[in-house]
Symmetry: C2
Subunit: 319 residues, 2 copies
């Protein structure tokens, strides 16, 4: 239901027709579909306080436009060729188009959010701008971590908080602010989404190694093959003795090794270091903390239950 | 005086110290100096209506931060190695840093402008966001024109209006809005700066061919050598007969030709087609139109004279 409303609103954004080279890539990116997670969270939080979806739709469109701006520029920086089964903008057009159309999406995101008149608009805009800047910081830390082997768990958690959680927190708090929710609820909702984001990212790290390929949708072991600093790898590096640690680093650096053999060897090491249990515990902890935040809301449980159900569905859980 | 205030405010922006890779390039770019034309125009317009500089300084810092964001991303797209005698960000760091630090500057520009509380803040933000989007459109048209030989004068004027004038218009209108100036004055100031921007850009095109190298600061003929679509070239292409037109296109495409000889041959063609007189007339016209806009303000001439003097100094004129 909400998803349909969001897709409709995204499809109805009146893009200027010219210059085509600027706006075609934007429409291309925004019509690719996806879960529309952030606008859905925004509208759900908004609905908790009696807001009608229409009143928050421009902000929902804005946050999805913003999210797709980050994907466009991240794909350019990562030289990723495909996104959602289609060529990325710098592949289909070129690098300069990715820069400029991406910039335009960031500006359009601000404009959409400005089109959402409400008593607390200044707070909404400040929240959005602060969040967007934090997300840039998260991306920069992610880049920095690529060339480091001494990243701590705390540093990793802070990076994914900035890169992933902050925008989920921004989405729910924005929805609540637009519906003029009490301050304490706005803050609790932000922390709720922050924890959901952390659980979600750690689960993504976990499933990349231990997931069912049919359910996960991606090939298993991708993070291992590209040597990505995940929660699993960082904890393995920090918990291994000197010998195991250097063996793990050697394995990851060995480009001659067969992919399947490398994935198996690294997974064996993870298993021996108890990394899966450690990761599942962390996911459970963030999941439980997220629920505690909802319990602190000024609303009865039957009202926030749909928001919790949605978070659970994201995490593939049934409670 | 104003310049000193602006430099001080730019130097006092409290950048987060981490992640260094994100904020160092931003401080680097913003500490390079320059005329600080846009924040100066903003503060001058603000002062016309009794505003004290401090009240508009965050917006002045915001518009200069925004302008430098466009320079950073434009230099990346143009693969320009130097800016103000120093290596550009993508040369000193790398392309990804230019993308991400540039994005952060755009966000910080919005945040600075939000830090300027005033009665008409919503109008200020809307003006800024619309202008920023128009500037992206201008950049896209500029790119499109590179591969075309049939650009009309009207298309060229619209492109430089978007790419250059809009931000000058935004600067003065923003200053006036922050000082709560009458609507008619806000609009007249916008048009004034738009015309100044057009005159300024055409003069830049003119001086690139006919300027005194000692005064102009750049080598003469640079636009001719890189085949840039300037007001001069576009009018020459449109006014030449078929033979002259194809000779001009051949000349520009000939990479074997000696630079000095190419500049001389193109300049001779311009002279024969009366392009210098045509260009100077257009500059004079925009210059006069700009003054007419100031005369329509609700203020006596002695009040707007300093703003006019500043515009004249930009254009190297003495009246």
């Amino acid at each position: 239901m909400l998803l349909q409303t969001i897709e409709q609103a995204l499809a109805q954004v009146p893009y200027p027709t010219r210059p085509e080279g600027l706006y075609e890539p934007i429409e291309y990116v925004l019509s690719m579909g996806g879960k529309r997670l952030r606008p859905t969270l925004l509208l759900l939080a908004h609905g908790l306080y009696g807001g009608q979806p229409e009143a928050a739709l421009p902000a929902a469109v804005g946050i999805e436009t913003y999210h797709n701006h980050t994907l466009l520029h991240d794909d350019l920086m990562d030289r990723a060729d495909m996104r959602r089964g289609k060529p990325t903008v710098h592949k289909k057009w070129n690098d300069n188009t990715a820069v400029l159309s991406g910039d335009t999406m960031l500006i359009m995101a601000f404009r959409h959010i400005m089109d959402c008149p409400c008593r607390r608009q200044a707070d909404v805009l400040r929240l959005f701008a602060r969040s967007a800047q934090e997300i840039c910081e998260g991306q920069q830390y992610d880049v920095n971590f690529e060339s480091r082997t001494d990243v701590t768990e705390a540093e990793y958690i802070e990076m994914i908080r900035l890169k992933t959680s902050v925008l989920l927190g921004c989405a729910v708090q924005m929805g609540a602010l637009i519906a003029d929710a009490p301050d304490a609820d706005c803050d609790a909702l932000y922390r709720f989404a922050e924890k959901v984001g952390l659980a979600f990212q750690l689960q993504d790290d976990y499933l990349d190694v231990y997931g069912d390929p049919k359910v996960f949708g991606k090939k298993i072991g991708g993070d291992i093959l590209c040597g990505k600093k995940t929660f699993l790898l960082i904890n393995a590096l920090n918990r291994a003795d000197a010998d195991t640690r250097s063996r793990l680093l050697q394995l990851l650096a060995d480009s001659g090794c067969e992919p399947e053999a490398k994935i198996q060897a690294v997974t064996d090491l993870y298993n021996r270091l108890d990394i899966p249990a450690l990761t599942l515990e962390a996911i459970d902890r963030y999941y439980a903390e997220a629920r505690t935040e909802l319990q602190a809301l000024s609303l009865p449980q039957e009202q926030w239950q749909p928001l919790w159900d949605y978070a659970c569905s994201l995490l593939g859980r049934n409670k």
